[in-house]
Symmetry: C2
Subunit: 130 residues, 2 copies
Amino acid sequence: MNIAEVAKRFDLTQDTLRYYEKVGLIPRVNRTSGGTRNYNEYDCGWIDFIKCMRNSGVQVDALVDYVRLFEQGDATADERKKILVREHHRIAEQIAEMQRTLDRLNKKIELYEKDVIPAEKELIIDKKIK
Amino acid sequence: MNIAEVAKRFDLTQDTLRYYEKVGLIPRVNRTSGGTRNYNEYDCGWIDFIKCMRNSGVQVDALVDYVRLFEQGDATADERKKILVREHHRIAEQIAEMQRTLDRLNKKIELYEKDVIPAEKELIIDKKIK
DNA sequence: TATTGCTTTGGAGCCAACTCCAGGTCAAGC
DNA sequence: GCTTGACCTGGAGTTGGCTCCAAAGCAATA
């Protein structure tokens, strides 16, 4: 697979794919004799994983660490697992916070629906919610 | 309330509070004759709301729009509601995506727990998950 | 009133994460 | 072999969202 195909498949730009590789978000991709990237399914597995994590707000640094450890072999499995667990916690906490925000928005939207709210009541809305 | 007290109360820096006001994330705060900000509970209500939204990933622009409309009075209630509904959708979608990521991480962590995974199996892990 | 410290402003600086570009190389069709 | 278009690299530029700073004014305490 050339870079154009991979970019299309994952809805990423070629620049982003090259960036991912450059900073170590994914392991180095094999090249043709001429130096052109030649992606295989293994690479795509990594891209898929990284894109998923990035879309959930996992920091580039954390993922770079993970990939670096991965490349160091089996001995780092424990440390890699710790990263995954830590990021799991972070995401779970973030979901909880966003859920509370949704509740708050729900109440606010409900008030907007009941009667078009005069602007001056805005604070009261927030007071009620608290 | 002076800015120091408000900053402490919301665990924000004074710079952040001034920034919020400068870009229009919160309505203009009243000042003393000398020009010093004098926050009241109304201001705090806004800060609380904005902090909550920002922590859930709502963009500054969207909130600035909301505040601007709010300041234009009752006639904009409909448009304001639309913003809230749109951001509600965005957050709900983001939660869904993060939930899927948690599932994926759970499976991956589980595999790490079963037997310390040789690095070479990394792709297989992702294949299984897919 | 003098000192010490808090607050003001505009604007510069910073960080994460891309995104774009120039100048060059490679490859595929004619 | 030549042209045309895709791909390469290193590095500069951009965006969003703060964060920091200098120079100056205000406030509280002695």
